[in-house]
C-alpha cells in the first residue's frame, strides 16, 4: 500500500510555487493516510525540508524588509544558491521547477528549471524526471509565444495524456496548479484511485 496523492508542488510565496522531482520521489513508500509528511515518507524528507527552508526564508525576507516581496528571479537564484551550497556538503537530490508571477515582468509569469547540482535556467517550458523524455518534445511542438491560461493547461494535459499512454512507470494521479496575478491555485487534482 503506498501513497498515490502526494502533492509535490509547494507554494513558496503568495505568487510562486515550486515543484520538485528526483529519483527518491519515485520509490514506493509506506503510509498511513494523511499523517505528518516527513514521518510518513522519510526518504522524501530532504524535499520537505528543502521546500520549507526555501519558503520560510522567503517569508523572513518579506518580514524583515517591510513587506517587499522577492521577485521570481530572485527566489530562483536563492534556491539555486542553496542547491549549489548543499552540493558539496550534503546534496539535496531534488530537481526543481519554480514558477512565479511578477507584475513588472513582461508577460508576468516566469519559469525556472533547476537540477539537483544547482544549475538554473529561465525557460518557457520545462520538465524534470523521467517525464522530460516524453514531454519536452510535445512542448517543443505545442508551445508558442502568448498562450493564455486555458491553452497552457491544455498543453499540460496533452503531456499528461502522453505519459498515461506511453510511460511504463507512470502513476496516473496528477495535480495541476496555476500561478497568476491572483496567486497560486489548484486547477485540477486527480483523486487517489484507492479512495472509494
Amino acid at each position: 500500500m503506498y501513497q498515490q496523492n502526494l502533492d509535490k508542488i509547494a507554494e513558496l510565496s503568495s505568487h510562486s510555487a515550486m515543484g520538485v522531482s528526483g529519483p527518491n520521489c519515485d520509490l514506493v513508500n509506506f503510509s498511513e493516510l494523511g499523517t505528518g509528511l516527513s514521518d510518513v515518507t522519510p526518504h522524501l524528507a530532504p524535499y520537505h525540508d528543502q521546500c520549507r527552508y526555501i519558503s520560510k526564508n522567503l517569508a523572513l525576507y518579506e518580514l524583515s524588509n517591510d513587506g517587499m516581496k522577492l521577485s521570481t528571479h530572485a527566489q530562483a537564484n536563492f534556491c539555486r544558491g542553496e542547491l549549489a551550497k548543499a552540493l558539496r556538503k550534503g546534496p539535496f537530490q531534488v530537481n526543481v521547477i519554480l514558477g512565479g508571477y511578477d507584475e513588472n515582468v513582461p508577460n508576468g509569469g516566469s519559469l525556472y528549471v533547476m537540477d539537483y547540482l544547482g544549475s538554473c535556467q529561465k525557460v518557457n517550458y520545462g520538465a524534470q524526471g523521467y517525464a522530460s523524455n516524453f514531454t519536452l518534445s510535445i512542448m517543443d511542438r505545442d508551445w508558442e509565444e502568448g498562450l493564455n491560461e486555458e491553452q497552457a493547461v491544455k498543453i499540460v494535459e496533452h503531456c499528461i495524456r502522453e505519459l498515461n499512454m506511453r510511460f511504463l512507470l507512470n502513476q496516473s494521479n496528477f495535480i495541476i496548479k496555476v500561478v497568476d496575478k491572483d496567486g497560486v491555485r489548484t486547477v485540477k487534482a486527480d483523486s487517489d484511485p484507492t479512495d472509494n
Binding site: 539555486r80 542547491l83 549549489a84 552540493l87 558539496r88 528549471v113 537540477d115 547540482l117 544547482g118 544549475s119 538554473c120 535556467q121 525557460v123 520545462g126 522530460s132 523524455n133 519536452l136
Partner: protein, 212 residues
C-alpha cells in the same frame, strides 16, 4: 542504466560547452555555444557561458553548469570588492590571477569549470588566458579554447587563425571555428554568441547554426 548510455561521462562533460577566444589587431573576440544539456538530453538552447566583467574584460566558463553560474557570481563579487577598495578597474592580468586563486583554493574539491579570459589591457593590446579546473594559468598571443570539443576547436583555430585580424574578420573567423567544431560534438551547439571587444566598445552577435 545501460539502456540510456554505455560510456561513463566525466563531470566536465555533464552539461556540455564550447568556448573560444582569439586575438586580433587591437581587439579580442570571445565566443561560446548556447546549449545546456543534462548528459544527452538538451534542456535549454540559450544558456550563457560568456560573462562580461567590464567593458574590456570577458570571461568564458566551460564545464559543470552549476559551477559556471557560481563562478560568474563569485567573480563579479570579488571584482566589485576590488574596484571599491582600489578605486580602479581590474586589469585582465589581475583578474586571471584572482580566478586562478579562487580555483586553487578548492584544490581538493574543485569547481568543475575550465575558464577562458579575454580582454584588453591598459594599453589596449589584446590579452588571452586559459586555465584548468585547479587554476594553472597559460597566457597566449593567438587563441584559447575550452569545452567538451576542445580538440575540434584547437584544430579549427590552428587552421583558420591569422595574426592581426580586424574586428569583422575576427568575428568571421571565430564564428566559423566555433560552428564547425560544435557540429562534430553531440554535447555542444544549438547556435552561439560572439563578442568582439575593442577600445570603442563591444560588438555582440548571435550565431545561428545547426539546431541539433
Amino acid at each position: 542504466k545501460q539502456y540510456y548510455h554505455n560510456r561513463k561521462m566525466s563531470i566536465l562533460e555533464y552539461n556540455g560547452a564550447a568556448v573560444i577566444a582569439m586575438a586580433g589587431k587591437d581587439c579580442v573576440g570571445i565566443a561560446s555555444d548556447n546549449r545546456l544539456g543534462i548528459q544527452y538530453q538538451t534542456v535549454a538552447m540559450d544558456f550563457k557561458k560568456v560573462f562580461k566583467m567590464n567593458d574590456t574584460l570577458f570571461v568564458g566558463l566551460a564545464g559543470l553548469a552549476t559551477d559556471v553560474q557560481t563562478l560568474d557570481q563569485l567573480l563579479r563579487f570579488r571584482m566589485n570588492l576590488y574596484e571599491l577598495r582600489e578605486e580602479r578597474t581590474m586589469t585582465p592580468q589581475v583578474f586571471t590571477n584572482l580566478l586562478s586563486n579562487i580555483l586553487y583554493e578548492k584544490r581538493f574539491g574543485p569547481y568543475f569549470a575550465e575558464p577562458v579570459v579575454a580582454g584588453l589591457d591598459e594599453k589596449g593590446s589584446p590579452y588571452l588566458a586559459t586555465m584548468d579546473l585547479i587554476g594553472a594559468i597559460e597566457t597566449t598571443k593567438d587563441f584559447v579554447v575550452s569545452g567538451t570539443c576542445d580538440g575540434n576547436l584547437y584544430g579549427m583555430c590552428e587552421t583558420l587563425y591569422k595574426p592581426d585580424l580586424g574586428k569583422e574578420e575576427l568575428f568571421e573567423t571565430l564564428a566559423q571555428a566555433l560552428l564547425a567544431s560544435v557540429d562534430r560534438d553531440a554535447l555542444s551547439g544549438w547556435g552561439g554568441v560572439v563578442h568582439i571587444i575593442t577600445k570603442e566598445g563591444v560588438m555582440s552577435r548571435e550565431l545561428k547554426g545547426r539546431q541539433d
